[in-house]
Amino acid sequence: MSKIYDAVVIGAGPAGISASARLAEMGLQVIMLDEQQRLGGQIYRNIQQSSQKTRDDMGDDYTRGLNLALRFEKSGAACCSGASVWDIEPDGYVYFSKDHQSKQIRANYIVIATGAMERPVPFPGWNLPGVMGAGAANNLAKEAGLTPDCNVVMAGSGPLLLLEACLLIKKGVKIQAILETTPKFLSADAMLKVFSALKRIDFLKKGMKMVGDIKKSGVPHYKGITKLRALGSDKVEGVEAYNGSQRLYYPADMLLAHFGVIPNNHIYRLLGCHLDWNHEQRYWYPRTDKWGRTNFDTVFAAGDGAGVKGALAAEYKGELAALEIGHSLGIIPKYERDLMAKPIEDELAFDNHPRPFVDAVFAPVFSKDSFDDDTTICRCENIRIGDIRKAIGEGVREVNELKIVTRCGMGSCQGRMCGPAMAEITGAELALSPNEVGVLKIRPPLKPIPLGEVAEMELEGTGAGPADLFKNQSK
C-alpha cells in the first residue's frame, strides 16, 4: 500500500508554494506536484536559478519569490517537479506522469493551485509563427534570459501587456507600436471603481509611471484599435489594425499579443467542481468558501486558478486553504485558525483594493464583429470561426455539441486555446451570454500521455483496472 499524504498540492506558483509550506509547517505530510522542472509557477519562474540581471530587470514583484522559495525549502514539504497531473478524483486519488512513468498517489486533501493562462483570443494570423503571448516573452526572459531582437509589435489589452512593454523598452527592444484594444476612455463603471483604488496610491503611482515610461519612449501607442491582424504567409511579416478609420501598418517579425489573464480551470472541470461566471472578466472560476473549499469537502482551490487576483493574493489564499486543512485534520483548533487567518485576510483585502478598478478598465468586450469567419479558432484541428457559425446556423446551441459537429476543441490542447472564444462566438450568434451556451466537458487524461504508461501503472484501492479511469463518467 502506498503512502497516504495529508495533502497533495497541485501547482508550484505562489499559491501552491505558500499552501505547501504552511501545511508542512503545521507538521503535516504534504507533497507538491508541478509540471515544470523548477518551482515558481509563471510569475516566479526560474526564480532560484535566475541571474542577477534578470532579477534587476523584473524587480521586486519577481524577487519576492526568492523568500517564498526559501520558506518552502525550510518547511520540509516534498516537491515533485516535472510531474504532469492527468487525472484527479475527489476521494483524494491523483494520477500524474513523470519521466515517462505514471503514478497514483492519495491524499486526504487536495489543494489545486494551477494558476492562470493568457486569454486566447483568435484574430486573423494569430497562429502564424512569430505571434506569441506577451506572457510567453516574459517567461522566456525569466527562464533563459531571452530578449526579442527584431521588430516587435505589441497588441491587445491588460496590465501585463503594458508591463511587458515597459520591460522591453527598458531593455532597449525596438517596439514598432503598442496597439491596445482597450477603449480610449474609461467606462462609467471603471470611474466608479476608482475610489476603492485610491486606497492604494502606491499601486496607482506604479501604473501611472508605467504609462509615463511608454509615453517618454516615443513608441507609437494607440488605444481602442480594431481589426487587429497579423500578416504573412509562413511567419508574421507585419501587423495591421484600425484606429477609427485610419489604417495602421507596421512591419514586424514578432507580435506579442495579450488579452488579459483567465483561470486555468480544466482541472476543476474534470473534477466536476461547481463553477461561477465572472461577468466582467468573462471567465469561469470554481465556487469556493472563503478558505477556498470547493463543493467537494476534500478539494481546495487557491490562487489565480480560483479567480485572477494576482501573485500576492494567490500566496495569501494558499495560506488560508492550508489553515483550514490544518483545522479540518485537527492540528489547530478553530480559534487558532481564525487568529492566524485574520492578518492574512487583512492583507488580502488591502491587496485587492485596486483590483475592481483594474478589472473594469481592462474588461474585455466581444461582439459578433470581434471575430472574422476566416480566422482559425482551433489550432489543433484547423477549424475556422466560419465553421462554428455554420454549425450554429444549422441549429447547434451548445459548445459540446459544436465540438462533436465541428471537431473544434477535440485536439491535443483539449479546448484550452479555443474554448473561451467558442463560447463568446456562440453566445454572440444566439444573443446569449457565453455562460449560457455550456462549458466544454473535460475528461482524463488532462494532458496526452502514452497509453502504455497507464497500462503499466500500479493501482490500488477501488479494485478498478487502468481502463476504468477513462470510463465515460457523468462528471
Binding site: E118, G135, A136, D149, D253, T376, C380, G411, R416
Partner: protein, 98 residues
C-alpha cells in the same frame, strides 16, 4: 529573433535534433533552447500542414509539441538533457526512430 543576456550560463549538451547532432543549451526547456538557437518552427501542424511555433510557453497551447525520446510532448515543459532525441518532423528532415 531573440538575443540572450550575456550573464546567462551557456553550458550546452549534445542532442540529436531531427537526426543531426546538435549542441543545445542545458538547464532550460527544449522550446526555449531551440528559440535561443534561432529555431523558431516547432512542428508542422498535422491538420493545416503549416509550420507552427511556440506560442504560450506555459504548457497550454500545444503549438510547441514535438516528438522527444519517442513521445509527443510539449517542448516548453521538457528540459534539455544530454542525448535527447528530438524530432520535429519538419519538411525535409530525416528524423530518427527511438
Amino acid at each position: 529573433m531573440f538575443k540572450q543576456e550575456t550573464d546567462q550560463t551557456k553550458e550546452t549538451v549534445k542532442v540529436l535534433l531531427d537526426g543531426e547532432p546538435r549542441e543545445l543549451q542545458s538547464g532550460v526547456s527544449v522550446a526555449a533552447a531551440l528559440l535561443a538557437d534561432g529555431q523558431i518552427i516547432s512542428r508542422i501542424s498535422p491538420s493545416s500542414h503549416k509550420p507552427c511555433a511556440p506560442h504560450c510557453l506555459m504548457g497550454v497551447c500545444f503549438e510547441c509539441q514535438m516528438e522527444i525520446d519517442g513521445v509527443q510532448q510539449q517542448s516548453c515543459i521538457v528540459q534539455v538533457k544530454e542525448g535527447l532525441k528530438i524530432n520535429r518532423r519538419l519538411t525535409g528532415s530525416k528524423g530518427e526512430e527511438k
